[in-house]
Symmetry: D2
């Protein structure tokens, strides 16, 4: 294997694809070699075909890449393939890529709940990466599929992990206020969302319920035993460009010794990605703001280059009950998609392949 | 008493004041005689002094009224006085008006929790109006102070009342997404709220907790015994002009026989204001939308001329648990302020004075 | 011909289609009999198939209409057909309908510049309706095609007409700030327009240039001689739901005797639709606001039920030059589309058919 | 004079003040020593007193600075004083500071039109800095007052300068679409601007008219002879956070040899700040975008770290006429305020003091 790993992005012109390209264009370990798009854009230069709408400068390194068709054989030269495709398209391509020996790091929701597919929010459950062995054994693949969680779930589970470890979790009530970018560039019409909220995102609540229990589950004998807490999730879409804000009430198994104790549990929490110094890992996975009016999406979504989640307004509202109330914010296309995707790939090469 | 009751609005140029003026300008029972404002506007005609920003046509009937100072003696000629003032200003004026014999219907938060002051969301607790007698006895007033609830609480308690009656209530977890108008015309800077959410509204959560228990409490021996359920409230401000949306999880005392049963309980519910045919009472206090993506603030806030609350997305998310999830929307300056104020006055004159 | 004329709306589920349905559902002359949509919705009831997003209550009268396919033979029973279709679809259907004897009132841009097709902004050029005779002669149709102007042009030309008549026009410099609804429900992605302006609308500037000269041209010997003034148009899209605002500098042929004289020319102006009392004609085609900060889209777009244009900030900025500066606002899907469409039909039946 | 110049910011907690602090905190020549605020914040640490709302990370270097009162004697230790105060407050302070020997670089509008005060948009009129000599002679000051232009004017004049030099200018028609931040943090209520445009900004149009002629005027015998072109300006406020977009039609003195020639004139243009390599000077003062739909405020306002203006959509719309149409965008609190302020200070120390 070469000095730098060759990376491809499938679906490189969408919002998540643009984030992948932005993160990979100057990555210390990966070299972005291939980008793909839908048929009508194939053959064009990335720099001219993409409508660059994200809040990062366009990476000139990617400008000259020629858009390839979104097919397995088109990325034969890649070591690692990042997938930012609709689930229907991803479903057919990903197993084929894994069979070809590719490391497939995918943001598509398909296969997330397969027992032998790791669903990784690295700081929360890096050890699930061992499922790769099971997957290869069972499927006979030389590559592997690794999944990025649903965006809302990625933000939520990061905030829950230290709570689960320290206090145990019984129930989680969550209402999300999700950014427009979560639906992709053209997913939410301007006429629908200005001066409005849409209190429904198809399939989202189900994903939060089942994915959070898998992510925070325990790996035992080659299987993930889902965590036992129950989740009630209500997902809404708000007129915000980037950053999902989540209002959470968590019923803990035992009462904390005060809010400050919880805050310290969050603030002091580090995990393997921090210890390994993975390039995309934020210094602090969870940043706690003590001002009464934070986190705010526009002000806080870039915290830790979009890879930290920001927690605020923690309180124990019902005397004598182990009930914790807080808000948590995360960047939905970084921590909730492409950033976590790149972090997963870094974890894989460091831990499994031991390349770096 | 004359055919029509003479009404005054204190603080008539603000957003809630404008709603009062709009509702009273053509009211069948009340005749708008007086409007007041802060010093610098006194003496001007209402039509030239007000910046009419609400989504109702300006009522020409009010154009020629001369703005009076915001002082008790300035509205000596009024029978009923509607108050849309900051609580600090209202605190000094309201008792004085009640002493002068005025019926004071107030949107200011001060005095809401006084034991002898009725806090009225008429469909939910019209019988609390009997506190007027206690109040007069205790204070020696010939008039009375009647209070409009906090806007978020007004919307919430209307949706809770049929649940409480039928199933009992143990706990309520609520996250609100509140409109800009809730802070008054200049209360939320444009630079703070575009592409953003502010997850904090000073004093709001405390109001929801205590007012909802008073409103849904039982009147016994001249006192309101607060309802026993517990409330965890998280209040946020979103880039929406009008209409508060609330995401609710209610732990009921006994399990409903299915979601449809709950929906029918809401839809079939009528109360005294409907039976009496009060002019401002909506035909249906609670409207249930069955589409998966409703209620939406922009589309639903005008339902029942802004006096209905709109419920959607009801579900029983945890099998075997009496836990009800839903969203409820209400117009914050109509059902949540001026509309309920006018409805309270109608109730008072119909029921207590028996004028109509 | 029956008492009431039978009307159909082609493309009834889009934003302009919804406006047509809303205006026709309770129209005194027209009876809405047929609505059409694209294939996947055919057969459904209008009330269940439409996503009603406009700021009018849904007209229950239209709820039970069954959606028909968008084909000429599907509206055989209609007298007048209102077209709210993309121009590519309209191009094939409209001539066929005219051949079948239908009065086709169309918002589609195709055929607007055909010499024998009247392009009508009724108050500005009602006399162009005489082109119907030329059209029938030339094409051998028993029906006719009548065109609604481009939305921006409709607003602009209404404000220009009294200026042209009184002072003559040399040049017009216009910058538009156009609402999201002008692109249709899903035409502008939320991610593109929040906290942004898009300074380009495909084909719009060309339409303003050529259509304004046709509309304000003179009918001579069965032909429209375009007005001679020149137009420089810059079109932008802004985060506003409804209402196009236009900043105008007009070089007049002779200098006005002061701004007040111009204001009076606008305010006093009435035209044939007002004299005939056509149901959809606003009392005043041009409303002038004298406040320094008007017109504002959200506050003024409903003026004259969306059929008046609102002018403000008129000034003569360069001493000694016949240069008039002002802003004009109009509701883009009422005055700029469906409202003017219905007004055209009213004019036709009153004037040409002399039915009413 | 020390190695690094000691800088103070008056009015450091407002939006423009925050930009000054952000630019100065890590500036190679200036050392930020003092920040001032209004009375109620004096004595607090900057880091705790400021509500940091701009899209730059908070500069930790400034966190511990203690807020001083906004008075001349409070910044006695500064060499250069940057002023981000309302004009009424600035009026009394600035002459006093200049008398004390301070270099006062001010964003306040007061004194901008004084004949001996340089109004500097450095790339456009750096040579006006010679007025400092006149000012000192006339006033007997050892310091000096240097003025930053009005934000809209700064953006406009940068785009006009190469046109004036090459083709001459007769008339300029400009409509601005200005960002919310132009009015300061709380200057535009959220309720006024969501789903709306306010077509009026007090005093703005007059500033554009007179300041643009001064900036582009010629320095002769110690006086600025205003440029002779006439300006018609219409200023509007739009729901955009940062970035003023301006739609311009310029009547040139002689016709360009085609649009491409004009584009090259803009793109090739460099001025003294670029030649001197001033730290805050953008590499290219004018960036031309060739896509049909640019510049867009959200996508382009950060070009050249907010110091470039971005031009697009240039055309010669009227055949045979020397009329140029284009749009220009600039960051209103960087190029239009604090960024230009810092650039002026750099120019002064390099050119007049020859310190660097």
């Amino acid at each position: 294997m070469a000095d730098r790993l060759r990376a491809a992005v499938l679906g490189a012109t969408g919002l998540v694809g643009q984030r992948f390209v932005s993160l990979l264009a100057r990555h210390p370990w990966f070299s972005l070699e291939a980008v793909t798009a839908s048929e009508r854009r194939v053959g064009k230069r990335y720099g001219e075909a993409v409508e660059w709408y994200i809040d990062e400068p366009f990476p000139d390194e990617a400008a000259e890449l020629e858009l390839r068709p979104t097919r397995p054989e088109a990325v034969r030269d890649a070591d690692v393939v990042f997938v930012a495709l609709p689930k229907e398209v991803a479903a057919g391509i990903e197993p084929e890529l894994a069979r070809m020996g590719k490391i497939v790091v995918s943001n598509a929701s398909v296969y997330r709940m397969e027992p032998d597919v790791p669903l990784l929010n690295p700081e929360a459950n890096w050890e699930h990466i061992q499922l790769v062995k099971v997957q290869r054994q069972r499927r006979g693949w030389s590559g592997a599929i690794l999944k990025v969680p649903n965006c809302t779930t990625a933000v939520l589970t990061l905030s829950l992990k230290p709570l689960l470890d320290r206090y145990g979790l019984e129930e989680v009530y969550m209402t999300s206020m999700q950014a427009i970018s979560g639906a992709g560039f053209a997913g939410v019409p301007g006429y629908a969302i200005v001066d409005n909220i849409i209190p429904f995102i198809k399939g989202e609540e189900e994903k939060v319920v089942r994915e959070s229990r898998k992510i925070l589950g325990r790996l035992e004998a080659g299987e993930v035993r889902p965590a036992g807490f129950r989740v009630v999730a209500t997902a809404t879409r708000v007129p915000v460009l980037d950053g999902h804000l989540e209002s959470v009430v968590a019923r803990l198994s035992k009462a904390p010794g005060g809010v400050e104790e919880v805050v310290e549990a969050w603030e002091g929490w580090r995990s393997l990605p921090q210890e390994l110094g993975l390039p995309t890992a934020p210094e602090r996975p969870i940043v706690v703001r003590r001002e009464p009016d934070r986190p705010q999406p526009r002000l806080d979504r870039r915290t830790g280059r979009g890879m930290s989640v920001v927690v605020g307004r923690a309180s124990l509202p019902l005397e004598g009950e182990p009930l914790l109330r807080y808000l948590v914010l995360g960047h939905n296309t970084l921590r909730g998609a492409a950033g976590t995707g790149v972090l997963i790939a870094e974890l894989y090469y460091k831990l499994v392949e031991q390349v770096f």
